[in-house]
């Protein structure tokens, strides 16, 4: 569906900036000795490779040709030595290269991850998970190739090419001159056809990426695909993508096929010159036959470095794209960061929103989002809460309720105004000491793979088993958990286990209870729970909350009507506030929201906000 569009966007990226390469290399300074070792090994390998033809030539001319057996034996033993050293050096070179490549990637990967953990939620509004994962897994591989085959070979290849020429000229300058006539042709072919081949190869990668994307979506949406009996259509569409990839691959093979003959022609021309002109020299006894053979072997060794060098640019290019995509994440500033001198926060006694305004600030402008440009989502929000208060936020979908609590946990910072805890602006305190006092239960729960016990303990890893059970009891989760065959040790992703949405909400509720926060945030926390359970949770909350501050969001007002203060939010503003009994009398919007449950008469329908007034998207995740 949108696959092509996504790819087009990617193609519009500016040309990669070579500075990313330096930056990447600077990151590897700790590995400088290994880099040097790799270069030296590569050089040694090239030198050894060039020694073989020379030895052969000596063996043939001075050994066999001169009927000198000891000389021949010398050459044989020497060659054997060279080959053994070559094997050892070759292995060592590959070993160091692999080690370096993997170490570099591992370093970058963990740096990226550490940064990801600190990035504020606004970053995750912009980047999809698939995108991040593909950057961290696939793109880094290009960097690996740069280390293992690109950079380490560069110097060695250049030296090899020069060395071959020098050896050839030392042997016989006339023949060397003659064979070098072919060299420009070889370089021309490699530089003209090589990039073409590379381009068609890239196009096979792109079409493959489309296939992967489609595969991803199919697997994630498999229930919908099957539920709507769209398998045949998906198969057809997939096959079309597959066909595009097939075509690209065939084109790439043809480009490769077209590349081979000219290259081989160049090499054969070289050989033909060696034997045509060299034969003449041999005939005139101005050159020995072993030299001709050495010429042929050395000419063949010229080709590999030339080809690799012609590809070097492409390797770097590819790695640069990958590195830049990684650096883009690394360079995303952590908007919500600890202040320079973070203060520790005492247990929260008061929470104050002081005329807070907020906007998502064009963050979703890329990707043509549903919201268009982002106006302010919250305007002049003022809230005051003391220990023991529970504040309820009610209002239509998209009014900005979730955004308010996100500001409290400092997932975002306000655009204007301030959020204060104990009269201290939360931007001045250490994040950990702020968040350490809070627990959030969301509608869309997230459980980590692992046991139910570990999930409940997530916010307080040192809690005892008894405390875990106690928290589960309060959250009404104990009963169903103890019914499971393995109880609290059940893996939440275990084979055959299917926790319902409601049960997952109860587990995350228990997690919040166990964290024993000074501030508890319930964002539609019981939307998928049946009323009986909900009632029991409410009873438990009454006890739990008496010395805490609670923020509750609910579409169903039954959950919030006991709150000490109810804020009616509409279009990012507090339109009214008070207790339930006051609001039900004076606030039309509140009454509408409240009564709708029991479908009393519809006279207030005209007073309702039209759904078109829904604020920017994503305010209610």
């Amino acid at each position: 569906m949108a696959v092509t569009e996504a790819v087009e966007r990617k193609e519009l990226r500016p040309r990669p900036n070579p500075r990313a390469l330096w930056r990447f290399l600077r990151m590897q300074t700790a590995y400088a000795p290994q880099f040097v070792a790799l270069m030296l090994l590569s050089l040694a390998l090239s030198a050894l490779g060039l020694a073989i033809p020379v030895l052969k030539q000596i063996g043939i001319d001075e050994g066999i040709g001169a009927r000198n057996l000891p000389r021949l034996m010398q050459v044989v033993w020497l060659s054997l030595g060279v080959i053994v050293v070559q094997v050892v050096a070759g292995y060592a070179q590959a070993y160091v290269a692999c080690w370096l490549g993997q170490a570099a990637i591992h370093g970058l990967r963990t740096r990226l991850f550490a940064h990801l953990e600190r990035l504020s939620l606004s970053f995750y509004d912009r980047f999809g998970h698939g995108e991040i994962i593909s950057r961290m897994i696939n793109d880094l591989d290009a960097a690996n190739q740069l280390v293992t085959s690109g950079l380490s070979a560069l110097l060695a290849d250049l030296v090899t090419l020069v060395a071959i020429s020098v050896i050839l000229f030392v042997y016989d300058w006339r023949l060397a001159l003659a064979v070098h006539a072919v060299l420009p042709l070889t370089i021309l072919v490699a530089t003209v056809l090589g990039p073409r081949m590379h381009r068609s190869w890239m196009s096979t990668r792109e079409t493959l990426a489309h296939i992967t994307t489609r595969l991803n979506e199919t697997v994630y949406g498999i229930r919908v695909v099957k539920g709507f009996a769209q398998r045949t259509r998906f198969l057809r569409e997939f096959d079309a993508l597959s066909e595009a990839n097939q075509e690209a691959n065939i084109q790439a093979a043809k480009a490769f096929g077209a590349f081979l003959p000219p290259i081989e022609m160049c090499m054969t021309l070289g050989v033909a010159i060696v034997f045509g002109y060299g034969g003449w020299l041999i005939y005139r006894q101005e050159m020995k036959v072993g030299v001709a053979l050495a010429f042929v072997m050395l000419l063949q060794r010229q080709f590999e470095p030339i080809f690799r060098l012609s590809e070097f640019f492409a390797t770097v290019q590819r790695a640069l794209v990958g590195l830049e995509r990684a650096f883009e994440i690394l360079d995303t500033p952590v908007e919500v960061a600890d202040p320079a001198e973070p203060r520790a926060l005492e247990a929260a006694q008061t929470v104050v929103f002081d005329t807070v305004s907020f906007s998502y600030d064009g963050r979703r402008s890329e990707g043509g989002s549903a919201g268009g440009s982002s106006p302010d989502v919250l305007h002049d929000i003022c809230i005051e809460a003391r220990r023991g208060d529970s504040i309820a936020l009610v209002g239509p979908t998209g009014a900005g309720k979730s955004t308010i609590v996100k500001l409290l946990a400092r997932h975002y910072d306000p655009k204007a105004g301030a959020v204060r805890v104990n009269a201290t602006d939360i931007r001045d305190v250490a994040l950990e000491s702020l968040r350490g006092q809070m627990a959030i239960v969301q509608q869309e729960t997230h459980l980590f793979s692992g046991s139910i016990r570990d999930n409940i303990r997530y916010g307080r890893p040192d809690a005892t088993d008894e405390q875990v059970v106690e928290a589960a009891r309060i959250a009404n989760a104990h009963e169903f958990i103890s019914d499971l065959p393995r109880g609290y040790d059940t893996d939440v992703q275990e084979r055959g286990l299917r926790l319902s949405n409601g049960q997952r909400q109860l587990i995350s509720f228990a997690r919040a209870v166990l964290a024993s926060p000074a501030v508890l945030i319930l964002d539609e926390a019981t939307s998928s729970v049946d009323p009986l359970t909900e009632k029991r949770i409410r009873d438990a909350l009454r006890v739990l909350l008496h010395d805490r501050i609670a923020f509750m969001i609910a579409h169903r007002l039954s959950t919030v009507s006991e709150s000490s203060q109810i804020l009616v939010i509409d279009e990012g503003r507090v339109v009214d506030r008070g207790r339930h009994s006051e609001l039900i009398d004076r606030c039309d919007l509140y009454r509408t929201l409240y009564h709708r449950r029991f479908r009393e008469d519809d006279t207030e329908q005209t007073l309702l906000p039209a759904p078109a007034t829904e604020g920017p998207t994503r305010t209610e995740p």
Binding site: A2, I60, I64, G65, L72, S79, I83, Q86, V87, V88, Y91, A94, Y95, C98, A103, F113, I132, G221, I222, V224, G227, A229, Q246, N249, A252, G257, A258, L260, M265, V271, G276, G279, R364, S369, A370, T397, R435, H446, F448, Y458, G459, R495, G496, L497, S500, D530, P531, K535, R538, H555, L557, F598, R599, L608, A612, E614, T617, T619, E620, P621
Partner: protein
Amino acid sequence: MRALLRLVPYLRESTHLLAIALLLGLLGQACQVVTPKLIQHIVAEVLEEGRYDHVGLSVALMIGLAALRGLLTFAEIAAGSVYGQRCLRHLRRDLYDSLCRLSFRYFDRVRTGQVLARVTSDFEPLGTALTWGVRMCFRNTVLFIGVLAVCLSMNWKLALIGLAPMPLLAATAFIVGLRIRPAFSDAREQLGVVSSFLQENLQGIRVVQTYCRELEEIRRFTKLSDRLRLANFRAATIDSVYYPLTGLWAFAGSLLVLFYGGHLVMRGALPLSEYIAFEAYVLQLALPMRLLGFMVSELTRAGVAARRIFHIMDQDPDVPEAEDAVAPGRLRGRIEFEGVTFAFEPGRPVLEDLSFTVEAGETVGILGATGSGKSSLAGLVPRFYDPDAGTVRIDGVDVRTLRVDDLRRQVGVVFQDPFLFSGTIRENIAFGKPDASDDEIEQAARQAAIHDFVAGLEKGYQTDVGEQGSNLSGGQRQRLSIARALLIDPRILILDDCTSSVDTYTEHRIQQALEQLRQGRTTLIVAQRPSSVATADRVLILERGRLVEQGPPAALAADPSSYYSRLFDLQRDLQLAS
């Protein structure tokens, strides 16, 4: 390697292309085999006979043969790649098809991220094996045999001595091959672990940050990443033994030729020209021998991939379609459950001995405590699962005798978790009926109370919903998925707790719209609260997978001892408490 053999049927496709490619390859290799002979002629002429008459001819022949070989190679590669790509596409199609056929149960128990990591990363080595691998195997075998034959005919003793290291090479390939397979498989596995950890972490990033667990997560990730580094490194080092080691054996052969051939030449038993040709042949032998190592490692990789892919293709769909399955006509929509028992895990039934009937056109609400089996019940109707005992019938016909797709086309399901595909709003609504007209789409959107929202967007129905609908809020996604189900004009509509993320007012609007839509179709509403099913004709109450109560909501509400009325009162009390 049995998995590799299972690829063979895919290779049988378009065999004429394969034959052409092979023939061209054969001819191309023949040209190559001739070249050293030409060199031999030149050397013999200038060195042994002291003449320079025919050198020009030989050189011209050499160039001509190279040109011919170039053309043949090009044609061979073109034909071979068309062949290989066709095979690959076929395999891919089959894999995708079986992926789509996998049952709901399969996806319930495996981690989606890991399935994906498998399938996507395994495609590539398979592609390489099917296209490049097959051709290379053939090419090099032919070249090897051809050169071998020439060598043997020239001087069999010298040939045998030159080939002495061959068994060592084969042994190297074999031994390293054995060790490399687990290493590659380990590396792939670890990659899957890292990416699913990443996936999980990113999904739960808000939880991670709220509970201040960043450092712990970083520590865990670093450990996993380091394990991946080691696994990759181990595989790569085993892999890198190959090239130098096979090189050693190849050069050892050429060294033996130098040693023994040199002796022969000195004794006058072998002309120098012949020795030189021999030398060239041994060099030609070195290439396929060294590539052998490469091919073994490539094939090993493919074997690992094939095993994992066939593992997926071998999963039995546990909702198999009967061979004589019939396409139902237009359903009337009478649903019958008779003694239905269903379990995700043996011994822990989610539904137990459930019997009830929903008449055509009826609207039935399903209530019950969290985890009582409501969603599972709904999933049995469109045959997402089959019951372990008992029968589900629609219009009196066992659903297992119906064609699955035709059944599902008439059952519209609104899932609890609304999944959207990347693409436009329009594409998502039209998901079940891609050729729907704009009017139909708008109508469905109106009925799902989402039209006003969509119309207010700059690009309207052409707005991109983002990856998995990430540009939309939960409530908006739910309403789009309702519109999606309504568009196919289903005979049976299943609403699985689908208004939990919308506010009361929107829920009310949706319900009003649905009330009209229920006319003439059967509707099942899975819900948490009595208010959501108050307008249903009948309500079923589930408790731990058993049907404990049923009846019209009014009647149930009137009976003070019923679970329904308890819930109903509770809900009202909750509201009026303050």
